[in-house]
Symmetry: C2
């Protein structure tokens, strides 16, 4: 058996602790599958005095992560500090510049600097791996980059944020409202004290930008992702969706449309029969559509110490085996810069929930406005009658363009009987 | 860019044609992802005169596949002839003996000779890859061997035969009987003229034995797989299952129980909420349970020219990149021989459908027999009343052992009022 692979780990939080626990528990199994032992020879974290329940007596300690990257005893750097810039970026750059491969779970870093880091790695004849950055334990990076490498992809989409999926699932199961379920999720540790990063879709957008780059051989373009979160989803929308045979999911979707790249994260309605509709709770799932393989879906836990450690160590085993690849499957210089497909050009169906005063002629006015934009209605629901009271009206449309819909909504929201801004959601025919 | 990888393809049926079509359509894409071109320089098939719609003018032809393996122009052999012995085995052995890596879609060959071939490959410092042999386009071999390599597995199971899943799905959707749906499936090309290989579970058993070897680091032990097919499933069972909130699926399942390996293929009842319950039609799915990652499921098309070609070419790209691994993840000499766990030791719940004469005391006799074996009933359904007529009675049990159940069934089937052999199916709590 070859010599042990000497690893430096920066960041000893939940994930870092999970990685050390895995490497310790599965020392023999991992050696067998990697063809050599995986030894953590150095670590770096903020507070040396903190008791993490880890035996670090035979491990070098660096207060400065960049020093860890430069430690000659360290062959591979594992970055688990997080943050798109600052120390994490400095560490990764230092390691790559020293020709050392990097393994990271840092989606923000890759989303913001993926292409530049790929060039830096190539320049120094090394690489970085980031299986843990997208969909946690699901080996989706390997699947797109290797397992499905023989396909041209038309579309890749998924449930990329477990917090949002947990909140939407719980809202559906209990009939409760967003704010209420979020508060509970925070108590249970499924949502952060500051939930914006998750519920506003930013975390999912980081992951989507990475998946898109990999699937389409393009530079990561996080700034081109259209992002909408789930705060505006009400219990009413979830109930109406169920009535329509649909389910609301926060979906990140990237597709090529006439050579342009559409990337968006938003709550959408999906048919109950779609495999992704039944992915519930904190689970994540990613679907890839390849021209030879057809539709493939992978589902599993998208976060947590165990699943993330599983992905980090899988990357380490690849490196130990010498199975390094260009980070985005093709050489950095060959990554394309694709034009962004504007969301206004999206063609598809829509769900509209309007809050109106129940009086004769309201529906006629709305229908006429839609007709003026060539939008044809597929269904209309107005439950009960309550003259002069405020009631919800739900409309689904046949396929139209988002541009037409937005123009119609602008005119609808100023109708006198319409008392709240309309809620409009995309319907996807997965 | 490095020199092209020179490939020999033996077998030009549906899958062989698909592989050549893919390599031709995606010449640039594949070169980019493989780091070099993939050139088919030689082929072998039975009938040279047959028009396959392929341009083979610049490709060497070998009537004898073994000659293709020995052709010095061929660096890698792709075996797509099928069959567990005969020419396919001779070809693969010749290629490995010549130190040439082999890519195959041949599940029967690997199921029967996997361990011996792994030793042969190792002896000649080469390897073989078989992503296409299990679950078609789903990259489950790579997932178990690499993506989830950091986990100890407790269980791996899946829907491994699209023909059976199509038949069971159609039976449920239409209420029709097995023989009727099978005949239709044969007309549609979803089932072979001789369907035994699929509907009796043999094909699924081949794939299960391969998955088990990979997950548990053991020698492929196809002869130890317990196999039951779906011929005995009636429309009645499917309807009762639905009433119980369950769905019948042909599942291949392998698990470690106290160091012994349980491998079985059989129709089982799974709860509707289980992700695998909603995998329908010709789709396949595989679920792996790892100690760090938790439950991961991958779903996609398990057969067909496109999906199979996708898997074959993914293996070729790995070989082009120099990413060869031991076939079962660990060196052949380290593969374990695990004792077989007898199915009688299985603990779990059961579904029983009895065909009885409707008369007082029948249920009491059955219940007493179950009680004598310490089996407790969870539910009993006898729809309608029809004194002295033959009626179905459905019973579900709480967890018991299969040994106890079999003893009880032996006594139940000789009860005077029981007029047909009982139908007993396992219930899995996925």
């Amino acid at each position: 058996m070859s010599q042990a692979l000497r690893i430096g780990v920066a960041g000893l939080g939940t994930v870092g602790g999970g990685v050390l626990a895995l490497l310790s528990k599965h020392r023999d199994l991992v050696s067998q599958r990697a063809g050599r032992a995986l030894d953590v020879v150095a670590v770096s974290a903020r507070d040396r005095a903190k008791d993490r329940g880890l035996d670090l007596t035979r491990t070098a300690w660096h207060d400065d992560p960049v020093a860890l990257a430069r430690d000659p005893a360290v062959e591979v750097v594992v970055e688990l500090m997080g943050g798109s810039d600052g120390p994490a970026k400095a560490l990764v750059e230092a390691a790559l510049a020293a020709g050392k491969p990097v393994v990271t779970a840092n989606k923000a870093l890759i989303a913001h600097h993926g292409a530049a880091l790929a060039r830096l790695a190539e320049q120094h004849a090394t690489t970085f791996a980031y299986e843990a950055a997208v969909a946690g334990g699901i080996p989706i990076i390997k699947m797109l980059r290797e397992g499905l490498a023989a396909n041209g992809f038309s579309r890749v989409y998924g449930i990329l944020n477990g917090t949002c999926n947990y909140i939407l699932t719980t809202m559906r199961e209990t009939g409760r409202e967003f704010a209420d379920v979020l508060a509970d999720a925070q108590k249970l540790g499924y949502a952060e004290a500051d939930p914006a990063f998750d519920v506003d879709g930013v975390d999912a957008a980081h992951k989507l930008a990475i998946l898109a780059a990999l699937a389409f051989g393009s530079e990561v373009a996080f700034d081109k992702v259209m992002v909408e979160g789930i705060r505006q989803i009400s219990a009413l929308d979830i109930a109406y969706a169920a009535e329509l045979g649909l389910r609301i999911k926060l979906i990140g979707l990237a597709q090529l449309v006439d050579g342009a790249l559409e990337q968006r994260v938003s709550p959408v309605l999906v048919p109950l029969q779609a495999p992704i509709a039944t992915v519930e709770g904190v689970f994540n799932a990613v679907v890839a559509e390849g021209d030879f393989v057809g539709t493939v879906m992978a589902e599993g836990r998208g976060a947590g110490a165990g699943p993330t450690a599983s992905a980090v160590v899988a990357d380490l085993i690849d490196i130990a085996r010498g199975r390094a690849l260009p980070p985005f499957a093709v050489p950095a210089g060959q990554l394309r810069r694709l034009p962004a497909q504007p969301v206004e050009a999206r063609r598809g169906a829509y769900y509209l929930r309007l809050t109106v005063v129940d009086r004769p002629g309201v529906i006629a006015d709305i229908a006429a406005t839609l007709r003026d934009e060539d939008i044809s209605m597929e269904s209309m629901l107005q439950r009960g009658r309550d003259p002069e009271a405020v009631v919800p009206v739900v409309i689904t449309t046949h396929d139209t363009t988002e541009g037409a819909l937005r123009r119609a909504l602008k005119r609808i929201e100023v109708l006198q009987a319409v008392v709240e801004p309309p809620c409009a959601l995309r319907i996807e025919s997965f």
